[in-house]
Amino acid sequence: MLNPLQQTVLQLGLYLFTGSLESVLAYLDLLLPTCMRTIAEINEKIQQQKAVVWTVEELKARVVEQGIAAVAKQVDVITTGTFEPMEASGAILNLGHTDPPIKIRRCWLDGVPAYSGFGAVDLFLGAAQSTETPEGEEPRELGGGHVIEALIGGKTVHLRALGQVTDCYPRASFETTITRDTINQFYLFNPRNLYQNFIVGVNGGDRLLHTYLGPLQPRLGNAVYSNPGAIAPLFNDPKLQLVGVGTRIFLGGGIGYITWEGTQHFPLQKRLPNQTPIGPAATLALIGDAKQMSTRWVRGCYFKHYGPSLMLGVGVPFPVLTEEVVAHCAVQDQDLVAPVVDFSIPRRVRPTFGLVSYAQLKSGRIQIEGKPVRVAPLASIYLSRQVATELKAWIEAGEFTLTEAVAPITSDRTFLPQDVWGSQMVMD
């Protein structure tokens, strides 16, 4: 079997051999439409502020009117965005050294523990970390996400640290207040963001459940979905052909980058014929300078009786390199599905009530076993749209150029469960 490149070379060779220049040119012409423009060409247009940039919703509407081929000729860049809770997020902070110096081993920011088991004054503050409350006090509905938002908003945060006394780090404890301007590095480093699709949560049991999707009322009292559907970045690039390690993105109102596949990245999820996954699939790890970010796009949040999290705006631009890019981005809510999962069974594999389309979800009502159920989103569709619009404005103004990926995101990662391995004791 020949691969496509070998076939092309062979074909060209044959045409050259037969001596017909016209046939060579005709064949090259056939190849050309597969690549309409390069990223370098698009960036040149961006820098001259001549690039045609549409949000993915504008693109979808125009494809309905004009068709894929006509639209692909006009548009250079498509912007997508989402704004949703992403609890697998966190911030790296470097405090700078004290005198005498300290090797921090335990640390709290506004009472929220930060991980310090690496550099002497390096901290990782997890978005889903709850505040520690002294015994007997009501737990405050506060977590890492709120502290990250406070720092981004320029607010003062209380810091308490305990050190391990060594000959080079003699200090045992330290207490101060910090702001984003009094620390060195402050960047978000999020191990799992941008879920390509997610689930719809319901509760088939008979008591109220408090979950990461908010309250789920008993006897299928409500349903919650958390992906904004057809406007979400990775629904429009189902096979992750346009993003990779090093792709520049909009992260929390500043510039960020895709650093790696996200944790629980599961590209092998079952897919529809349009290649979009039927449940949680690809994820991405993201990084970005928090000092550039804004609290408009980075919000601490709290789910009652579940815990804190972080709502985050993320935008991804797609270069229109081929017609296929437009074809993928033309996908509509009625072409995308998510599984309805029953949270009343507290197991890893929960029973499902089948698949529903995002068009049904966004209508505000779905049918489950013949019963109408009210549906609410958890992603802000209103702010997701604004992320795409904001990123479009950056690109149109020539402030944001596109990047070639340095390496692809793997497409064949399996998703292993953590089972009890090895022999288990059996009591007879």
């Binding site: 709290y302 709502m311 505000g364 958890l378 992603a379 802000s380 209103y382």
Partner: protein
């Protein structure tokens, strides 16, 4: 003047103080929930007015902080009267005050504490 004492003693009206802003020798404000016999309540309010106490009635109301709201819509799924809905076109949160029964389920549901009860 021991207002709540007189309400209880003279009119058999229970006064549940929700908020109080009272300083010595100054005009203060007291938010109270009164419960008792309907005629006694009317008489109690009349008596308070006769003592030059300004009385106005108020009801509990849901207040949405536009600055904090992220329009996620999570509250719309728990609102039993559909007073809270997402606009089908803009997906902005819409609140129909006339439909609200102040059940306060939205208050606990809101992940960004944008909803509170005003009194």
């Amino acid at each position: 003047m021991p207002v709540t004492y007189r309400l209880a003693k003279d009119f058999n009206v229970a006064a549940n103080i929700i908020r109080a802003q009272v300083a010595p020798n100054q005009i203060g404000k007291l938010v109270v929930e009164l419960s008792g016999d309907i005629d006694q309540l009317d008489a109690a309010i009349e008596w308070m007015r006769s003592q030059e106490i300004g009385v106005s009635s108020s009801s509990r109301e849901i207040v949405i902080d536009e600055e904090s709201c992220v329009h996620c819509g999570l509250c719309t799924g728990v609102c039993p009267t559909e007073a809270l809905t997402l606009d089908p076109t803009t997906f902005r949160l819409a609140f129909a005050r006339s439909r609200c029964i102040v059940c306060e389920q939205c208050v606990a549901t809101c992940p960004v504490e944008a909803i509170s009860v005003n009194l």
